[in-house]
Symmetry: C2
Subunit: 426 residues, 2 copies
């Protein structure tokens, strides 16, 4: 709880300048019309398409340095841009321009007995700080979502993507000025100094909220150090519970899709919970599919009796987000034990029940305290686009402000608007 932020002179000067510019730009973009914001998004998209060769060249430099420094192949894949990925960035900005503008929307207008009429108007949050890792496409995506929701943004990407991000940033700046907006609406850091992150996390006077995007370590570090509010996305340790009243075909389809559609996404199932009543029936149909896909099973004692080649699950397995073709399986006695297991080991991301029993489906929805709770659907649906938000800047496992996929609305807040006719309060 040490309030004094110790920064080098150069970083202090940087955050003071960038912060003030962002504050000024946030007032401008908050008042910009939907037309102007869409024009800027379209212009950014065009600039990116036109500068694709430069962006790819900058990315090649980053890739070369990353190879030389021995970055893992997974990180190299995230860092790499291809002509298709550059197109997708431009396309993403165009799609954001087509989304409805949340700013200015007025809801819940009600006449009150006193004679006033009260409603709530959606307004931007102000300045949003984005701290992310190696994927350069986040630069364009996050910038687009902040801009459309009327916010200014300060973006700090991974140092390994510096050249790529600077090339993209140049396109974003030109797009802003093409539309007559301040280039300070979107500022992408041109330094790889780690102190810059410290400065962002410690500057509530300049930044209203921080959205970290990346692995667990990054999020934990950001959360622990931030004096600015953080919209967090921790693990996705997701569960599917197959109830005694489940339709076996649907259960098998959901459980297979939840694990195997993609292993590396946060909505992937990591633990399968089976009711003891029909566990052997479910496993008889499901295991051949998992085996074909090459999924390793870590099971509880009862599971291991039913599944050959099952490795005994440790306490750690119940807590692990594998993001890999590994699945923990536990056999439980009914929905209460399933809910208890999820409450104890889950991460509050996304959990599903498969059942035809209405009462138990309602109990599961009510009692499972996760940002998404599903009935008879694959946990892999946990995604802003699938939910109809148009796009997402991340998935919040927090309990304040926004929970679940965060779209444009999650980057705004409602203020009250009150209309009278010279009305006074008695």
């Amino acid at each position: 709880m040490n309030k004094v932020l110790h920064l080098s002179d150069s970083i202090r000067a940087w955050i003071d300048t960038s912060g003030r510019n962002a504050r000024l730009a946030s007032k401008e973009i908050a008042q910009a019309s939907t037309g102007t914001k869409n024009a800027a998004l379209e212009a950014m998209a065009q600039r990116i398409s036109r500068e694709a060769q430069n962006i790819l060249a900058a990315n090649a430099k980053d890739l070369e340095a990353a190879h030389a420094s021995g970055l893992s192949s997974a990180l190299l894949d995230r860092l790499e841009l291809t002509p298709d990925r550059v197109n997708a960035m431009a396309e993403g900005l165009t799609q954001i321009s087509a989304l409805p503008d949340p700013v200015g929307q007025i809801d819940d207008m009600n006449a009150r007995p006193s004679g006033i009429t009260v409603g709530r108007m959606r307004v931007p949050l102000g300045v949003i700080g984005i701290i992310y890792e190696s994927r350069p496409n986040v630069t364009a995506d996050a910038a687009g979502l902040c801009l459309k929701s009327g916010n200014a943004a300060i973006l700090r990407g991974g140092s390994e993507a510096l050249n790529s991000n600077q090339a993209i940033s140049a396109c974003l700046s030109l797009g802003l000025t093409d539309a007559g907006l301040s280039e300070y609406v979107i500022q992408v850091l041109s330094t790889t100094d780690r102190e810059a992150v410290t400065a962002m996390l410690g500057s509530p006077e300049y930044i209203d909220v921080i959205v970290p995007r990346g692995g667990k370590r990054l999020i934990e570090k950001v959360s622990a150090d931030a004096r600015v509010p953080v919209i967090k996305h921790l693990d996705g340790n997701c569960h599917v519970y197959i109830d005694s009243d489940a339709d076996i075909d649907k259960a098998v389809a959901v459980a297979f899709n939840a694990k195997c559609r993609r292993y590396g996404v946060c909505g992937a199932m990591e633990t399968l919970l089976l009711d003891s009543a029909n566990a052997s029936n479910v496993l008889a149909q499901l295991m051949p599919k998992y085996r074909e896909a090459g999924v390793d099973i870590r099971g509880c004692e009862r599971t291991c009796e039913l599944v050959p080649d099952c490795q005994a699950a440790s306490e750690d397995d119940w807590r692990t987000e594998y993001l890999a073709p590994i699945l923990a399986i536990r056999i439980v006695n009914g929905v209460d034990q399933a809910i208890d297991h999820i409450g104890r080991y889950g991460s509050g991301h996304t959990d599903a029940i498969v059942t035809n029993n209405l009462e138990r489906s309602q109990q599961f929805v009510r009692e499972v305290d996760s940002s998404s709770v599903m009935v008879n659907a694959s946990t892999q649906f946990a995604d802003g686009f699938e939910y109809g938000l148009g796009a997402e800047i991340g998935i919040s496992t927090d309990r304040l402000h926004v929970r679940g996929p965060v779209g444009l609305e999650g980057l705004t807040i409602q203020k009250y608007v009150v209309f009278g006719d010279g009305t006074t309060r008695p």
Copy 2:
């Protein structure tokens, strides 16, 4: 950004015990039916009514000690309970029981092309910490709002109100157990150790959000030290701007009510902004009323030319929340200057325009960045009850989670609920 919380052993033991009990109780109250929660609120109200004599006797002890220690008369007034105030506490709990339960409400159910149906369900925040000052009635009010919204609460009142709060707390605990709920749903601190506040502010593992209620100093201290998210209410430096197109009678009514209805409330106007076009007409009708009420005027140069006995306003006056019969007046040239003044000196609480000009009313609503923006209505309407929220736990001048008066809904969050029919993601 020092993450280590240094606490004495006894306070560490206290927060660990209370925190764990609150977490367990929060799971219970989150699942409690509306009927059970209402029964608890009614039982608490009855216990308070029945124990009125004991509560008043405990309050008399606090008052005696406060007199002896030379507490100011304003603080003594806040600390004092009368039979009427005790009745009002019980009545308040009964009123909260009559409000609609926000928990479990499902909004925005939409079918998606993939076959899933997605909606949002309102759920409690978890454990709420309330840190407040001398008013003992906050104990019952805040407890009631937390309970109805399905949250557990840890309350820490002012040390000068310890006996009163303990007497009220006993009634709340009995009311909870009368309704079959855990007494740990509402915990009122029985220590006056200041370290307990430090422990609450530093324990995100036990407390999900802190709501401080009290003066500017308390809020600033809480905000600076907290590692738990805080719903803040800073100053209410509220403005009324009277436009050149205002109806003079309505302008006078609004400006008089905004200042003089009650001086000590956060929605009281502190600075009056007048358009130069009709400033002298407005002042000619308004000043006799202010003079009769005994309001002191601190004016800009132009105001002082029009108002006898006007004291020249300093830069400080524009920033001051007087909470007293003092008013700063500035004459501006049009709505842009008024909006600039509010942006520079205002506190983002509540600001109003009086005008018949539609375009300027819309500009004011859009561009004034306050938690409540009003047209032709008195700023003294800034209140959860007046807005139809039923009751309020405070007024947020924050930009995250909730802005403006905070009622039951502000103590909840929406999670996503997804329904399919064995639906898998392609």
